[in-house]
């Protein structure tokens, strides 16, 4: 019993396999980081379009958000991979940005809606324009309130990158699948060691963000007095 486990560790912990999985981890972090950054930009734009009365723009952003949020990310990943000529990592980023923008938009909108109407009135009375009020008064306050759910979305995004395995992108999940089907990886213990090692990598990265999110929530609750 103990011997099979020891042999499993020996087989998995080779420089070659670890290096391969490391590349997968870097790709996962790369896809997640770029997607979340782009989604933050587009999501904020969508949220602003939806929360103000802007006619066609509001209708568009409402329809976009509601449609995208109710379709699985996998569909966008497969579609982006096979219907465009983007290289694997970039098509993953594009698909995840399309999807995550809609999710982030709802988080940002929740923050915008939580800002009291009096803030608008006060800014207008001081001669701020609508854009000026938005950029200088409303958005900064909203951002502070949504810090925690936004960081929590990092965790979801990092987990979501695993959907890219459906199209064979070399992120962490797909690389682990390749390693697990290697000819030297045979017994149940071998396979478990591979997947649990990879699960641990996801777990540690996500735990870091969950902890930061919890800290942000505790701080955010104190209001404007730091």
């Amino acid at each position: 019993m103990f011997e099979t486990w020891a042999r499993a560790f020996q087989k998995v912990f080779t420089p070659q396999i670890l290096k391969f999985l490391g590349t997968g981890l870097l790709n996962t972090l790369y896809i997640a980081a770029v997607s979340i950054a782009l989604s933050f930009i587009f999501g904020t734009m969508l949220a602003l379009m939806r929360s103000r009365k802007l006619g066609a723009l509001t209708v568009f952003s409402t329809m976009y958000i509601e449609a995208i949020r109710n379709i699985p990310l996998t569909l966008f990943i497969i579609g982006m991979r096979f219907m465009t000529r983007l290289p694997p990592l970039e098509s993953g980023i594009a698909a995840m940005t399309v999807f995550t923008s809609a999710v982030v938009a709802e988080i940002v909108r929740g923050g915008l809606n939580s800002i009291h109407k009096g803030q608008w009135e006060a800014a207008y009375s001081q001669g701020f324009s609508t854009v000026g009020t938005m950029v200088k008064v409303i958005v900064p306050q909203a951002l502070r309130r949504i810090r925690s759910p936004l960081i929590a979305q990092f965790v979801t995004t990092i987990k979501d990158t695993s959907f890219c395995a459906a199209v064979g992108t070399y992120e962490l999940s797909f690389t682990s699948k390749i390693v697990a089907s290697h000819r030297t990886i045979v017994t149940a213990q071998d396979i478990l060691v591979v997947y649990l090692l990879v699960a641990l990598a996801y777990y540690l990265v996500n735990l870091m963000f969950s902890t930061i999110a919890r800290r942000a929530r505790d701080n955010g609750a104190k209001g404007f007095v730091k």
Binding site: I71, T74, I78, V155, T161, S173, S176, Y195, A199, Y203
Partner: protein, 227 residues
């Protein structure tokens, strides 16, 4: 008209439509079973997390927290890989459908547990005190007083989880789960017809997820009003 959305492509897709509807049925079936088991797990773990009267209960709560932490912080994809590849080698033979149900149930159950636990905590303490003053045992208080009230509190968040569960069932495409996403992926790949496939698959998911999302939103509004 040429290109991915040509009339010929649409016609070919509609001929294969029954295949997609079968996959759709499979998606709904897997989601339904996954949801039922996830709810059982959620209620059990939720109760375990909130009752820590003695050492044994505290140990159970700690185990549940470990379970939730692992299943919430690792991707469903990896969990499904483990069930799909490791269980057969240990002599447990499950069909792909059962692997799907198991994976979705354990993953969603970890989130359902959080929802149930915070709903139980949201029931005012006075309810427990009132029940105990009337001679209710702890179990009676839980089943007859606390849980019925927490259902209403948990409902909006739980409804959102149903949408997530249905969307997450799409990971089963990777293990040839036979559900809608697998049909879409494999059929479009072998027939090289992507346009109509993605539009129609998206609409099929939308047809089930959008109404549930709208119900969730209404429930949220109502619960905000009642507070």
């Amino acid at each position: 008209m040429n290109g991915p959305f040509s009339i010929r492509n649409w016609r070919t897709w509609f001929k294969a439509a029954p295949l997609f509807l079968r996959g759709y049925g499979q998606t709904l079936l897997i989601s339904l079973w996954g949801l039922l088991i996830a709810l059982l797990i959620g209620v059990f773990a939720g109760i375990a997390l909130t009752s820590r009267a003695n050492g044994r209960q505290r140990a159970l709560a700690a185990i549940m927290r470990g379970y939730m932490s692992f299943f919430q912080n690792t991707p469903l994809m990896i969990q499904v890989f483990i069930f799909y590849n490791v269980l057969p080698k240990m002599g447990v033979r499950l069909s792909v459908t059962m692997v799907g149900v198991l994976g979705l149930a354990l993953y969603t159950g970890a989130y359902a547990a959080d929802i149930v636990a915070s709903a139980i905590r949201a029931v005012p303490l006075g309810q427990t005190e009132a029940a105990e003053s009337q001679g209710f045992s702890r179990a009676q208080t839980l089943w007859l007083v606390i849980l019925p009230q927490s259902v209403k509190i948990a409902l909006p968040a739980m409804t959102n989880q149903v949408v997530n569960l249905i969307k997450n069932s799409s990971v089963l495409a990777v293990i040839a789960g036979g559900e809608l996403m697998y049909v879409a992926d494999s059929w479009s790949g072998s027939n090289l017809i992507y346009g109509p496939t993605f539009v129609m698959t998206g609409l099929l998911y939308l047809a089930i997820c959008l109404p549930i999302s709208m119900i969730a939103r209404q429930l949220e509004k109502r619960s905000v009003r009642n507070v």
